[in-house]
């Protein structure tokens, strides 16, 4: 730590152009309570969740800035345990998380070098993000996903309308944290194993070593209103697939019997490349497109193409978004897996949002998605009311349904597992 501080001071002195500015801090606290209406739900009837977020940024010199975001959470759903988790190696989320913590060094207006824990997300979409190849998520609550920064070094160069970015995550891979409790993917798997077998899940976290270094690059240009970029990534998929593990045998009544299966949360090696683009049509319309090809040298991973296209329309206080995502499997894996995981949940998914925010006391949105292949709809309405300054109270709901228990490339439907987890909730939040 002392070395880091010395380095910062040294760089600031060498920069020698300005004195550090006063840090700017802001944040938010929120409290949510959920009620699960279906008597056949997987977890308890009520849950409570608390989160506090603190953000800060400042300037050490004219060429050196810093920023961070920290988060503290607590819940009564047993999703949270431990003070801190270094590489998301634990299934439970920690009480404290450093989401980001970055030093930005700008030796020239065109060049920025960032070191630290940072978000690297090149997707232009809100929910389904094929171009988000590097940033893991905490998906403990699958409908409350939080992006987690990755310890990395990035170099960003922009000149004229062209820009390039290189991100290197040295030595250690950081996986996404898998859904927990009622949202666990293991529940989907467990529904398909013989009832006499119990179920154990184990995370296959790659070791820290040189060849676990990940790298991503993006090159793009602005041409008129058009922004287009080409992206590439070599590393591992932050989203797990689930592999069969060694069966656990136990002596039962004098006989050796299989009593439990082990499912391995595996993060396959990944080589991905694609394009992103956005283009405004006039002042009201925005077109977006993204397409990424996923390839893996591993025998249990298919090759597939993820493409998403969308249109956004803004009218006064209203914003309407309509997107279509599809998964095209191009090469079948040599070996089957137990479950292909979240990366392959959506096969032919249309999703959109209607949002109203007039900057007054009332705001709301309705998000809807439907997968034509898996035949599952997701509906998320929310209405918020501002009680005082930035103190808001919200009423929200998540409604999940599934018409098929199995579909296409994913076989067992995760949404069929969680379709009884409909919930309504309230949230109080305050920004400062």
């Amino acid at each position: 730590m002392r070395t880091v501080v010395s380095l910062v001071v040294l760089v600031a002195v060498l920069g020698g152009r300005a004195v550090a500015s006063v840090p700017v801090l802001n944040g938010a606290v929120q409290y949510e309570t959920f009620g699960y209406t279906d008597p056949n739900r997987l977890g308890s009837r009520f849950e409570n969740f608390f989160a506090a977020t603190l953000r800060g940024h400042g300037q050490l010199s004219s060429i050196l800035t810093w920023q961070f975001e920290g988060r503290a959470v607590a819940d009564d759903a047993d999703f949270t345990a431990g003070a801190y988790s270094l590489r998301n190696e634990s299934r439970s989320r920690p009480y404290l998380s450093l989401i980001t913590g970055v030093l930005d060094y700008r030796p020239s207006p065109e060049l920025r070098v960032s070191v630290g824990k940072q978000i690297v997300n090149w997707s232009a979409f809100d929910e389904i993000q094929p171009a988000n190849l590097m940033t893991p998520r905490d998906e403990s609550d699958v409908f409350r996903r939080v992006e987690l920064g990755i310890p990395s070094i990035s170099v960003h160069y922009g000149s004229g309308g062209t820009f390039a970015e290189l991100v290197v995550v040295p030595l250690a891979f950081n996986p996404s944290r898998l859904p927990q409790g009622r949202w666990s993917l293991g529940t989907t798997i467990a529904t398909n194993i013989p009832s006499k077998l119990s179920f154990v899940e184990r995370q296959d976290l790659p070791p820290v070593r040189l060849n676990e270094t990940q790298a991503g690059a993006r090159v793009g240009t602005h041409w008129g209103g058009l922004e287009a970029s080409v992206i590439g990534y070599v590393g591992r998929d932050t989203a797990a697939e689930f592999l069969p593990g060694r069966i656990i045998f136990t002596v039962v009544n004098g006989r050796l019997k299989p009593t439990a299966i082990q499912i391995i949360d595996h993060f396959p090696l990944l080589r991905a490349g694609g394009i992103t683009g956005s283009y405004p049509l006039g002042e009201r319309w925005l077109l977006r497109v993204e397409s990424v090809y996923y390839n893996s040298p591993e025998r249990d991973r298919d090759d597939f193409l993820h493409s998403v296209a969308g249109v956004e329309y803004a009218l006064d206080d209203w914003r309407i978004v309509l997107n279509y995502f599809r998964d095209d499997q191009t090469v079948n894996a040599a070996e089957a897996v137990t479950n292909k995981g979240e990366r392959r949940f959506f096969q032919s998914f249309i999703f959109g949002e209607v949002r109203y925010d007039a900057g007054r006391r009332l705001r709301g949105h309705l998000r809807v998605g439907y997968d034509a292949n898996g035949e599952f709809p997701i509906i998320q309405p929310e209405v918020s009311y501002r009680l005082w300054r930035t103190l808001w109270v919200a009423l929200f709901s998540e409604i999940i349904h599934a018409s098929r228990s199995h579909y296409c490339h994913n076989k067992s439907s995760y949404f069929d597992t969680i379709r009884r987890e409909d919930r309504v909730g309230t949230r109080i939040e305050y920004d400062f």
Binding site: I189, N192, I193, P194, S195, K196, P244, G245, R246, I247, I248, F249, T250, V251, N253, G254, R255, L256, P258, I261, Q262, I263, E335, A336, V337, T338, N339, H406, K411, S412
Partner: protein
């Protein structure tokens, strides 16, 4: 479980001349029995008498009572030669459709269950399927497996099974390479071993686990007689087996095959706990099994 019918045909003895001659006589007698078919062999209760006639005048010299049971029988002669059985697998393991054997299973705590093995299909290529179901005294299904085998003539191969214990969640266990359960001819002390990798999948082919194990079978000897609930069987081929599942304990078996019937007794031990499977009844080739 196996079906067996071991025609005992000792071929060679290192001992003295008259013992060789006697052994050849036994070979002749058994060959004659074979010519008359299984039913004849299964019903040859006069074999004891024949052996007594053949060996009754033998001097009670050291080494003749090879299995040390105090009597000079055909088992002692067979013990003197390494070959326990010569023929094709189907001679020892008949697997005609509807062949059925029923066992009483006694667990280490004394609990009783009933295991029924039935050949449900067989094709000319040698593939056959055994339905193996075990129920407890309340008729609760403890195990229901549909096992796949191939009989190549000289080898009996086990490919895995479909676990139908829970009809709603059927799983399939497939082993590669297949497990070698029998090699012909059976020669005393000559073990055969297979290391297999088995994958468990759901009915739609989704893999949910795997296991690795090494199985070793060793033909041991011929045993004079064994009493099981169906009756007292004589001249049984004794095969010892072990199953080492990676990451789990060692399971051992002492299996005794009766002529024209199959295994009549299986003593399975793991961690010092013994489970007995004893033949209660059966039907082979449409004929009820009788002790002999």
């Amino acid at each position: 479980m196996f079906y067996t019918r071991p025609p005992i045909r000792p071929k060679w003895s290192p001992s003295i001349g008259y013992r060789l001659a006697c052994a050849l006589l036994v070979l002749l007698a058994v060959t004659v029995a074979l010519v008359f078919g299984r039913g004849v062999l299964a019903a040859t209760t006069s074999l004891d008498t024949l052996i007594q006639v053949l060996f009754g005048d033998l001097p009670a010299s050291d080494g003749v009572d090879a299995n040390n049971d105090g009597a000079i029988t055909v088992a002692d002669v067979v013990l003197a030669v390494p070959l326990l059985f010569e023929g094709v697998v189907s001679d020892l393991v008949p697997h005609a459709v509807n062949d059925q054997l029923v066992y009483r299973v006694t667990d280490p705590q004394g609990g009783l269950a009933t295991e029924t093995t039935t050949a449900v299909s067989s094709d000319p290529g040698g593939a056959f399927v055994i339905d193996d179901e075990e129920v407890d005294s309340q008729q609760q299904v403890l195990k229901h497996e549909v096992q796949s085998y191939t009989d190549t003539g000289t080898e009996l191969l086990y490919h895995g099974y479909t676990d139908e214990t829970d009809p709603a969640l059927v799983s399939v266990i497939t082993c590669d390479p297949p497990l070698l359960r029998m090699v012909m001819p059976l020669i005393a002390g000559q073990s055969f071993s297979t290391t297999i990798h088995c994958i468990i999948t759901t009915l739609d082919g989704t893999p949910i686990g795997y296991s690795d194990e090494t199985d070793v079978f060793t033909p041991i000897d011929i045993v004079d007689s064994i009493k099981v609930p169906l009756g007292t069987f004589t001249y049984l081929v004794h095969i010892s087996g072990s199953r080492q599942v990676t990451g789990a304990g060692l399971e051992t078996h002492e299996i005794y095959f009766a002529s024209g019937v199959g295994p009549v007794l299986d003593l399975m031990t793991i961690g010092g706990q013994l489970t007995r499977s004893e033949l209660v009844s059966g039907t082979i080739g449409g004929v009820p099994v009788v002790a002999h």
